[in-house]
């Protein structure tokens, strides 16, 4: 079973980083986006399990 893909969207880079660091220990494939438009573009490519 492949890694779960998670997309993290927030306009604050510090908060994105915080979430990333929290989730690093889990076995996830993490992606970030700073705004909604970019998030939708990424979603189409990576098909995250959780946003």
């Amino acid at each position: 079973m492949s890694k779960k893909i998670i997309l993290i969207v927030d306009d604050q880079s510090d908060l994105r980083r915080l979430v990333c660091m929290r989730l690093e220990f889990g076995d996830y494939e993490l992606h970030e986006s700073e705004n909604g438009t970019r998030a939708l573009e990424i979603t189409n490519v990576i098909k995250p399990d959780q946003t």
């Binding site: 306009d11 880079s13 929290r22």
Partner: protein, 586 residues
Amino acid sequence: MLKNSEDQLNTNKEKDKQADELTRATTELAFQNKEKEKLADKLILANEEKEKKANELVRANTELAFQSNEKDKRTDELVTANKELALQSKLDSYRTKRVRVAEELTIFIDTANAPIFGVDADGHVNQWNQKSAEITGFQPDEVMGKNLVEEFITAEYRESVNDVFQKALKGDETANFELPIYTKNNNLVMVLLNATTRRDANGDVVGVVGVGQDITELDSYRSKMEAKVKERTRELDTILTLSPDGFVLVNADNIIAYINPALLNMMGLQAGMFIGKSAAIFSDAMTSLYNSELMENTSLIGDEDNERLIYLSYPIVRVLHCNIKTMYAVTGVKEGQVLYFRDVTHETEIDKMKSEFLSTAAHELRTPLASIYGFSELLMNREYDKKMSHEIFETIHRQSVNLKRLLDELLDLSRIEARAGKSFHMVQQSLKELLNESCAEAEGAFNGRKIEVQSSEYWPLLSFDIDKMRQVFNNLFSNAFKYSPKNENVILKKSQREKNGSIQFGVSIVDNGIGMDPQQLLHIGERFYRADESGLVPGTGLGLSLVKEIMAIHAGDIEFISAKNKGMAVTIWLPIVSTKLSDKEL
């Protein structure tokens, strides 16, 4: 036979004796008869006497009756005489009374606390009481026999007074006629007059009596009251005209009596459409302006007093607070209604802004706090290498600084707003010194980046609070540096302009950074508004709000010229006190 003879003799003797006796008896009888006759005669005589006496009695009785009749007659006469006598005395007392009444009347008229005067059929004064003399200053001997109308009445009233007298002379009396009379020293007194017809004993009209009442004081009081009412009306008119609130007055017949300019302005309509028309027309006009999404088309004018909010879409979006109150007369009768409208659009907006501000502020405060909270929690629960933990500490510190700045600026803003400039210490000097310091500070803070000053050494005298203006420049310089490329400088320009009759000194700070599009420019200066949403550039979104507030208190202006990715030019304008430098700086 002897014996018989003797007997016979005896018998004869006896017979003779008897005869004698009979004769004697007869004689006796005759005598007795005679006596009887004599007695009868006597009786007849007595009877005759009696009759005579009876006749005399009848005569006496008749006489007596006659006499008593006569007595009655006398008594009647006496009664009549008495009656006449009583009448006579009554008449006498009546006459005395009348004389007394007449005397009393004369005294009464003369001393009455009201002017009473009389004129004869030709209009000449024939009575003039003390009060008339007192009021007018003319003594009776000065007016008696003179023509009242011609000599004592003001010209414009002569005709009407004459009318009243002529009418009274025809028996047609006038009550409560206001009559101005000239006094001896040419003052005008106002007399309220009742003109009464005067008749002689035969009922023929001989003149007119005027009974008056000095209403000069009353009249002047009335004039004063009228003037007061007029003044009050004018005051109220002025107030209602100037009032920014709307008023409509509806009278008891539901007709619009007044509508003030403020309300017409709110409705974008003309007074002529409503004055004198039915209240329903006004109500319909108002409902046609309603925001149909927020309002039902209910009539404004009902029987009951009420208060409500009215949301209008036309002519512009407005919120009106409407208060309807019924006016009652002292008697409790409904006199009409007052409709009062207050434009609460601004208050409603402020209310909305306040709650928006609170939720934005809470959100903005939560963002740095979330980082601080989250990262410190990570540090507590996990082991990181030195480099990593240093990075985390740095983040926590940076976000703490952010939080502190946010709170500082919020406090600054609220302080400035609450005191509306009262805590400002205004000094008169030029901006030269302050700008030099601010430039150096900003250049230092942004690692050797430069501020290029692009204008002459022109420094007019201005009035400002040094610390507050330092805050303005710090904010503007740091914005210019933060939102422009790291290798580029910021340009400083000075200028001068005239606005609304005052000369202003301008300082422009121009960068070549990300700029703002027109949509973003609309929001510039709003609390927490940031054109850059990336979060890469530190900031609170409060800096320009603060700058705007400070400039407003300095009676200055702030202008932004920008386009997306074409940089930003911010110019602040301060009124020039004098084009000369202050003594200190010369």
